[in-house]
Amino acid sequence: MTANKEALLNVEDLTMHFPIYKGLFRKQVGAVHAVDGVSFNVYRGETLGLVGESGCGKSTTGRAILQLYHPTRGAVNFEGRNLVEMKKEELRHMRRKMQMIFQDPYASLNPRMSVGEIIGEPLSVHKIASGKEIQERVAHLLELVRLNPSFASRYPHEFSGGQRQRIGIARAVALQPSFIVCDEPISALDVSIQSQVVNLLQELQDQFNLTYLFIAHDLSMVRHISDRVAVMYLGVVMELADSNALYDNPLHPYTQALLSAVPIPDPVLESKRKRMLLEGDVPSPVNPPSGCRFRTRCPIAQPICAEQRPEFRELKPGHFVACHFAERFM
């Protein structure tokens, strides 16, 4: 699927620091280093999975790409144009092409709006359709996400979590975008409902040649849906590779630990697996470790890891890793 390697999105040194203010005069005393110098491409038609543990900056990355936050530093080139430098009006126009699906299907739909209004709103805001045409489009979109078109007059509270997520998906595809950030779209759903939503996302991708940035912490699901996967830790991308290459031969010690921690629903296999247990917790992003962010928990850390931030280098074709000692896992 990455055969025609055309980069739809190019993220360059993206950095997002949230200032911390203190005292009477609201003096800035520090910053949360949520995302720190992240670079990657997203190719047209692919799904790039973005994984990591809570607080690693994966959601912030997604939001900063869509300019829901104004990045501290860096560039986000979408179809060759830098979104960070765009004027508001221009950016608003671009939003037609880039949409988002949110994690919480309860908080992301306005309870006072009917489903028809929720899905139809982007169409009228962007002056794509009006009046009766909106209704027709809404009915069509509801069918597309396998909901009854007559639901348009109902309100969000009448629906289950999975159905609400479908409404959120219908809203996101209403403008026929080319790029969608899916921010943990299935984390809040029951197991049997998750696969329904994932299958729907994949069908829509095939039908409309959509490009996804799929943010999640469920590594098994990310492997299932992604062509390529990026692993984040404390605001930095540690490893990025084709999905099979990353899961079969991870080159970063953090990726290795993360993968070994994921349980597999097979008791025979589970009894034979070796776990690589990490000590302690993720350090605070307010004061991240010097050099390599992972060095405080890394089983193979050396003095150089504290001094020098490892370069994010392409060790094998298409396989990027930020570790001084990744060669030993080749």
Binding site: E53, S54, S160, G162, D190, V191, S192, I193, Q194, S195, Q196, V198, N199, Q202, H217, L219, S220, M221, R223, H224, I225, S226, D227, S243, N244, Y247, A257, L258, L259, S260, A261, V262, P263, I264, P265, D266, P267, V268, L269, E270, S271, R273, R275, L277, L278, D281
Partner: protein
Amino acid sequence: MPDYLLDVQKLETTFKTPEGTIHAVNGVSFGLKEGETLGVVGESGCGKSVTMLSILGLVPNPPGEIVAGSASFAGQDLLQMSSSEIRHVRGSQISMIFQDPMTSLNPVLTIGRQLEEPLMLHLNMTKKQAEDRAAELLTMVGIPNARERLKDYPHQYSGGMRQRVMIAMALSCSPQILIADEPTTALDVTIQAQIVDLVKRLRQELGMAIVWITHDLGVVAGLAQRMLVMYGGYVVEEAEVGELYANPQHPYTLGLLNSIPRLDQKEGKKLSSIEGLPPVLYEKPTACPFAPRCKWAIDRCWAENPPLEDIGNGHRVACWVDTKTGRARS
């Protein structure tokens, strides 16, 4: 009939709500052997938590009511005990840990105070003895500088450490049974792996029986010896762990196992999903509660609720259809 440490028979629990009575648990029977780990899986609303809360007298009445059943433990029926009798069992002989370690700890009391209280209450320890034992317990669950950290408040602990504290608290009076209700659901995978590892170690050292409630078929695969699968307030399948994963019989178990992607599986294959939604039971089902979502359903499934029947090797299943052949069970 094996000798059970805890023997639950035909438990039924209902909740009265303004919309009507919800039949949460509809005749659940199971046994727990000494030192055994039992995995209980099912989706939200299947009755897995309410079953355990009922046994420990933790269902608030009203709105909840235990309408039938028995739970014998050490020659006594837990369901018939007075609130002071059951309080004595709870904590000293059977303890429970919950999903959210933040809300189960009191934020205004130090960790030490919360650990020492049950020791002084149940084991009649002096303040000094309790403090020593509390420090010992914290060390046992892998918290460094235990004596110092007794003086800290819950917010000074991370999520994984709080769950360790909950485990320490649950084990403080050396219970014979530990009931863990989704203890790792709120945690990241690497922290989950730490907690599972800790529980395995403690199980070996202390020899208690464990009931591990979860919706994640992966976690229990490496932990449990026997499994219960619940749906709509019923146990629909019960088997040894190896047997259940290798030879699942009930359509719901099959659906669950096929709808989750596995970490060791390459991407691409479409997930099979269970269509429809889990039921909300305003009436006690007279037919199979899974029939509306079942692709094997035959006429009988809509008329009669199948009982849990032994099909050999201690494997029990509640289904009119043999899913291996697709024909009705004789």
